[in-house]
């Protein structure tokens, strides 16, 4: 994960969002986001509702369907020795070249990818066939899938079930194992365990982490839950109002958050064994149809200076591998 290493995925200046009905404009959910994903890393994207984290991974995966629009920016993915620019591919090409084997995706709502009238085994067979394994018979496929299921600890009887017959946790495990079966280089997981019980969540996340490490792949974990990031991520990116405001090693971000938003967020979280009075943030995140000028956090920021209201700070490296978008960490010329 050293910064000298060449990234596996390069996200460059992505701008994307949603066309709002009634011609009320364009909601820029992701606003000039740049991020690198390295080999063998677990990177977390954290932030609260509406910060753009889910939109960002949807764009990274290339699952861009209206009302979602990619306005500008590029995403490059390393495949063997090639560097593929996936943002200009159409969906068919992405499906053939990228999905499942290079990038795979675990959505929050498993029912959005499971077909309710198909058995679980048919979902797996479909993936295998779509990935050029047409030569195998269904029987061979089922054997292969069953032994894969066993390997990752899913009961075999699940294969014959329909999605609705399974509990939410079991469905999420199925979707997770679908995302991993083609040994992708990077798994994008969007709130993969949100809404599940904590014990089930722990088990599923352990499964994912174990598989990722075993395959030597990388994981991008999108979650609003800072606790979950603390349990598994190597690095974190914190998003606020469509922007990445801070990137760094998880250990550094948790021990010494730099951005005032990150500081406030961490301060607001109650912890077991600690009754110290805490304060939450004031106000609300801005409307992204017409975001405030300058730093988007300035209306809520206790340290806001004049410049923060006018000019966007931009993400700047303040220590090796540590990026923050805040004038507090710039030279004196910005302070007044």
């Amino acid at each position: 994960m050293s910064t000298k290493e060449e990234p596996l995925v390069m996200v460059r200046n992505i701008v994307g969002g949603y066309i709002v009905s009634g011609s009320r404009g364009f909601l820029e959910a992701v606003s000039r986001v740049t991020l690198d994903i390295y080999a063998n890393e677990i990177i977390g994207i954290a932030g609260e509702s509406g910060c753009g984290k889910s939109t960002l991974v949807k764009i990274m995966y290339g699952f861009i369907r209206k009302p979602l629009v990619l306005t500008s920016g590029k995403i490059y993915v390393k495949k063997d020795s090639d560097l593929l620019e996936i943002t200009s591919m159409d969906e068919d090409e992405r499906r053939k070249k990228i999905w499942w084997r290079v990038l795979s995706y675990i959505p929050q709502n498993s029912m959005s990818v499971l077909n309710p009238v198909k058995r679980i085994k048919d979902h797996f067979i479909e993936i295998l066939k779509a990935q050029g394994r047409n030569y195998i018979t269904n029987k061979d496929a089922i054997e292969a899938i069953a032994s894969y299921m066993e390997e990752i600890g899913l009961p075999r009887e699940v294969l014959n079930a329909y999605p609705h017959q399974l509990s939410g946790g079991m469905r999420q495990r199925v979707v997770t194992s679908m995302a991993l079966i083609m040994r992708p280089r990077v798994v994008l997981a969007d709130e993969p365990t949100t809404g599940l019980d904590v014990v089930v969540q722990r088990g599923i996340i352990q499964n994912i982490v174990e598989s990722i490490r075993r395959l030597g792949s990388s994981l991008v974990l999108v979650s609003h839950d800072i606790g979950l990031h603390a349990m598994i991520t190597d690095r974190m990116a914190i998003m606020y109002a469509g922007k990445i405001v801070e990137v760094g090693r998880t250990i550094d971000i948790l021990r010494k958050p730099l951005h005032p938003y990150t500081q406030a967020l961490l301060e607001s979280l109650p912890r077991l064994g600690d009754k110290k009075p805490r304060e939450g943030l004031r106000g609300m995140p801005p409307n992204l149809i017409s975001p405030p000028p300058g730093c988007r956090f300035h209306p809520r920021c206790p340290f806001a200076m004049d410049i923060c209201k006018k000019v966007e700070p931009g993400l700047v490296e303040v220590e090796p591998g540590r990026l923050v978008s805040c004038y507090i960490y710039r030279g004196e010329e910005h302070r007044r």
Partner: protein, 331 residues
């Protein structure tokens, strides 16, 4: 002594039918007992989905009559109240739910709700008195009149509307507020603001809270007492510090250990491999301890239903490991 309790829930059983094909009934509440003392406390009921915690909240609110057992509110059986008493109960016990948008008519201005509540339930004699009462309630929840006047629910953020819901609940000067997952839809950075309002209402207005949640960190932050539910049973209850810092029941231990926290020191233990079960619903109809199939300490005795054991540290636990009260908690 019984009449001194604010709420006394005794051996309550509530069944639901489940399964399209099998027609089983299962006990969402299977012999639940607890009491809330008649002094301001925040009593948390925590559990995962399907544990029965929301059912318990609804039973205590008088919305769901149990098949067995009873619920006394200040000594009176809430399912046998006279018409007069029902009005009294509706004033004394208020509710806050998870989704504030579902608790308000989307077309009606929220301020008119608050005024009506002041007129109907807080004994305001005229509009001026009602306005005063509403202003005081808004102050406690940290809202200005300008924030809410002329606003419909959709014009407020989730956090603001939840504050309005709390203001409405406080207006009748209740003794008890039942809050079912009141912050789980809010962003983490705003949750603590709502929790602080509960603490303040408890301290300044002597309101008790029955806080239903799946989130142990927020429970720890505000509560005095906690009951942990598992599949219709209260498996452990006691003072929050004791239960959270020295959990007795193997399930409570597993639950606490599984909470992801923004604390890197917890990582190593959290990543210790746990085993996920298979098809889960079977446990509802099994005999004996309901946690047996998942319990790392299960032994022969667990095929019999464990009673409640009272421990010296003030905790009550349903687990055979504590049959001999000198047994130590498994570590």
């Amino acid at each position: 002594m019984k009449h001194e309790m604010l709420v006394d829930v005794r051996d309550v059983e509530k069944r639901f039918r489940y399964g399209v094909f099998f027609g089983f009934t299962f006990k969402a509440l299977d012999g639940v007992s607890l009491y809330i003392e008649n002094k301001p406390v925040i009593y948390t009921v925590a559990g995962e989905s399907g544990s029965g915690k929301t059912t318990l909240a609804r039973v205590i609110l008088g919305m769901l009559k149990p098949e067995r057992g009873y619920v006394l509110y200040r000594g009176r059986d809430i399912y046998r109240l006279s018409r007069e008493e029902i009005r009294w109960f509706r004033k004394e016990v208020q509710a806050i739910f998870q989704n504030p948008y579902a608790s308000f008519n989307p077309l009606r201005k929220v301020y008119s709700y608050l005024l009506d509540t002041a007129l109907n339930l807080a004994g305001a004699h005229n509009k001026e008195e009602a306005q005063d009462i509403v202003a005081r309630a808004l102050e406690i929840v940290g809202l200005n009149l300008d924030d809410v006047i002329n606003k419909t629910p959709s014009e407020l953020s989730g956090g603001q509307l939840q504050r309005v819901a709390i203001a409405r609940a406080l207006i009748p000067k209740p003794r008890l507020i039942v809050a079912d997952e009141p912050v789980s839809m809010l962003d983490a950075s705003l949750r603590v603001n709502i929790l602080n309002i509960f603490k303040e209402a408890k301290e300044r207005m002597d309101v008790s809270f029955f806080y239903i949640t799946h989130d142990l960190s927020t429970a720890y932050y505000i509560s005095d007492i906690i009951a942990i539910m598992y599949r219709g049973w209260i498996i452990e209850k006691g003072p929050i510090e004791v239960v959270m810092e020295k959990p007795s029941h193997p399930y409570t231990q597993m639950l606490i250990e599984s909470v992801p926290e923004p604390d890197l020191n917890k990582r190593e233990k959290w990543l210790l491999r746990i085993k996920l079960g298979g098809i889960e619903e079977r446990e509802f109809i099994e005999q004996g301890c309901k946690f047996r199939a998942r319990c790392p300490f299960a032994f022969e005795k667990c095929s019999k239903e464990p009673p409640e054991f009272k421990l010296e540290n003030g905790v009550t636990v349903r687990c055979w490991l504590y049959e001999d009260r000198y047994n130590k908690a498994p570590s």
